[in-house]
């Protein structure tokens, strides 16, 4: 009884976040990815594209592109439309316009591992070998497993004109082209000057500086360890040197078919594939 009363007062004082039950509007655009797949960087790129008057910071990016898990339904309902909203959730049919980022799960697992150490969810000496099976089972975050998340979106939306999907690796390799595609999707004139400015204002160097200055203010870094940074090396293929071979093998034996569909090469090239998933091909096209 007392516990119920305490819970009641707590929920009244803090209505909680919109989260999975968020009620969307048809003109919303969602920036979706599994956690640690380049969402923050893309958020910066988009915020700098849409709001070129001032360079975006970590704190203002949160305000310009709020997350469904950072705010209440009430708060989000009062924002000016059309909104761009960040989310990590698996497929949601209410999200009518979606920018979806995929990243090699071998890099994602490393990045999540360090982030959870930073947040003191994991102790420093927690072995990666124990983390990987939990990552595969989808036990390390509330957004399903990497495969659940990716497959649920790609199988339902890949051919939809309201769905723009690219790989983090493409965004790294050909940033200008990807940002031009983002601009077009967001109905911003893809002016090369604007694109370059957005990229410049979202560079790893600048974002690291911002993290130093704003770590104590920003929701994702507040009250976390300062010796591990949120923005780590921001590269692709880090797993090659850092992920134990047994872990690589474990991930590939579980998700090899999906990974190959998405264009990530694995040590074995079995023909088997997930027939519900489209094949992702590297982005092509020109910036202008």
């Amino acid at each position: 009884m007392i516990r119920r009363f305490l819970n009641l007062t707590r929920s009244l004082a803090r209505p909680g976040v919109a989260g999975r039950t968020f009620k969307a509007m048809p003109d919303d655009t969602f920036l979706v990815s599994y956690p640690k797949s380049g969402n923050t960087w893309t958020r910066f790129l988009i915020a700098n594209l849409l709001h070129p008057d001032h360079p975006v910071t970590l704190v203002t990016a949160d305000r310009l592109i709020p997350g469904v898990d950072g705010h209440s339904q009430e708060h989000l309902d009062h924002l000016p439309r059309p909104r761009v909203i960040k989310s990590h959730y698996p497929f949601d049919p209410q999200y009518k316009r979606v920018i979806y980022i995929v990243r090699d799960p071998r890099d994602v697992v490393l990045s999540q591992y360090h982030y959870q150490r930073k947040r003191r969810v994991l102790p420093d000496d927690y072995p990666l070998e124990s983390f990987v099976p939990r990552f595969i089972a989808g036990d390390v975050c509330p957004y399903g497993s990497w495969a659940d998340n990716v497959c649920s979106w790609l199988a339902t939306r890949m051919d939809d004109p309201g769905f723009l999907c690219f790989r983090y690796e493409d965004l790294k390799r050909d940033t200008e082209l990807c940002v031009a595609k983002l601009a077009r999707f967001l109905e911003v004139t893809p002016d090369l000057g604007l694109i370059r400015q957005a990229i410049e204002r979202s560079s790893v160097k600048r974002m690291r500086e911002l993290e130093k200055a704003e770590a104590h203010l920003w929701e994702s870094t507040k009250d976390t360890r300062k010796d591990i940074s949120f923005l780590r090396n921001a590269t692709s293929g880090e797993w090659r040197g850092k992920l134990p071979p047994s872990c690589v093998e474990e991930l590939e034996s579980k998700w090899g078919d999906i990974m190959r569909n998405l264009g990530y090469s694995t040590s074995s090239e079995e023909a088997q594939h997930n027939s519900w998933l489209p094949h992702l091909t590297p982005l092509t096209g020109s910036v202008q």
Binding site: L12, D148, T156, W276
Partner: protein, 280 residues
């Protein structure tokens, strides 16, 4: 703040619907499908399978196989484990074990049309052709179902082939109910005799369910206060679309979802025509 108060009051008074807020338990099994795909029939079959001592009817089905969309969080909390829970939700990664029923979307569209007339969500005059357009574009139903293709693909792409997932086709269930029921029993780890299977099928037959509906429709949450001249238990057959759905509507569904339909074994009208020519 006001939103928070509303939520809490709804929860405490049991006026909410569990939906995505359902607290999932590790030993839960979900009976999932798009609406109008044979879910209620399967619910009856499974309630009879799991509860041989109960007289399964619309009066106790919400206790035996509760629905996430009509039952409150608190009502679902009171159901003892292991629970079998009915849902129409698109993919939810939290569901540990899932029985998923898929039905030919051309039959689903027809059945849904009559269902929405029953629910007074569309008028009797609303043309079926327009309705199928709404159906394909997802302008009907709850925001928690998605379109037929989204619902099916979201489950199949993530769970097909896993030990914790059992796919049932409504058409196979119609063709050989005993065999499909045996597959479910194995999946649920329930032993059942051949005689009992026949008994369960009889207790869950369309004729018996229609009879129950006649007497109990005022007491079941899904039929209470709905039109009485259109029954909830529909035709309970497969392939009705071939004679009842306008060809243009069938073509619309096929052009929108052809690939997904083929993946779960539903041939297009042209494929069917070719087959019948070959066998003639």
């Amino acid at each position: 703040m006001i939103y928070g108060i509303k939520q809490v009051v709804k929860y405490l008074t049991g006026m909410d619907h569990a939906e995505r807020n359902l607290a999932v338990r590790p030993d839960d099994t979900f009976l999932a499908s798009y609406p109008r795909s044979g879910n209620t029939w399967t619910r009856f079959l499974l309630a009879n399978l799991l509860h041989p001592d109960e007289r399964v009817s619309f009066l106790n089905i919400e206790r035996l196989v509760p629905d996430t969309s009509s039952q409150s969080s608190r009502a679902l909390k009171r159901i003892p484990s292991p629970r079998l829970i009915k849902t129409h939700h698109y993919f939810d990664h939290r569901y540990p074990r899932v029985i998923y029923i898929v039905r030919d979307p051309r039959d689903v569209a027809l059945s849904y049309y009559h269902f929405q007339r029953k629910y007074r969500q569309i008028g009797d005059q609303y043309p079926l052709e327009n309705y199928v357009q709404d159906f394909v574009q997802g302008r009907i139903g709850s925001r928690d179902w998605g379109t037929w293709a989204e619902n099916v693909a979201s489950w199949m792409a993530t769970r097909a082939g896993q030990d914790s997932f059992l796919l049932l086709r409504y058409e196979d269930m119609i063709a050989d109910t005993a065999q499909e029921l045996a597959r479910v029993a194995t999946f649920l780890g329930v032993e059942v005799s051949r005689e009992r299977v026949q008994e369960i099928i009889r207790l869950s037959s369309a004729a018996r369910m229609r009879q129950l509906e006649q007497h109990q429709s005022d007491q079941w949450v899904a039929t209470k206060n709905r039109r009485k001249d259109i029954p909830f238990v529909g035709a309970a057959n497969s392939g009705g679309w071939k004679s009842l759905l306008p060809p243009v509507s069938a073509a619309l569904i096929e052009s929108a979802w052809g690939e997904g339909m083929t993946s779960v074994g539903y041939a297009s009208s042209t494929q069917l025509a070719r087959q019948s020519q070959l066998t003639r």
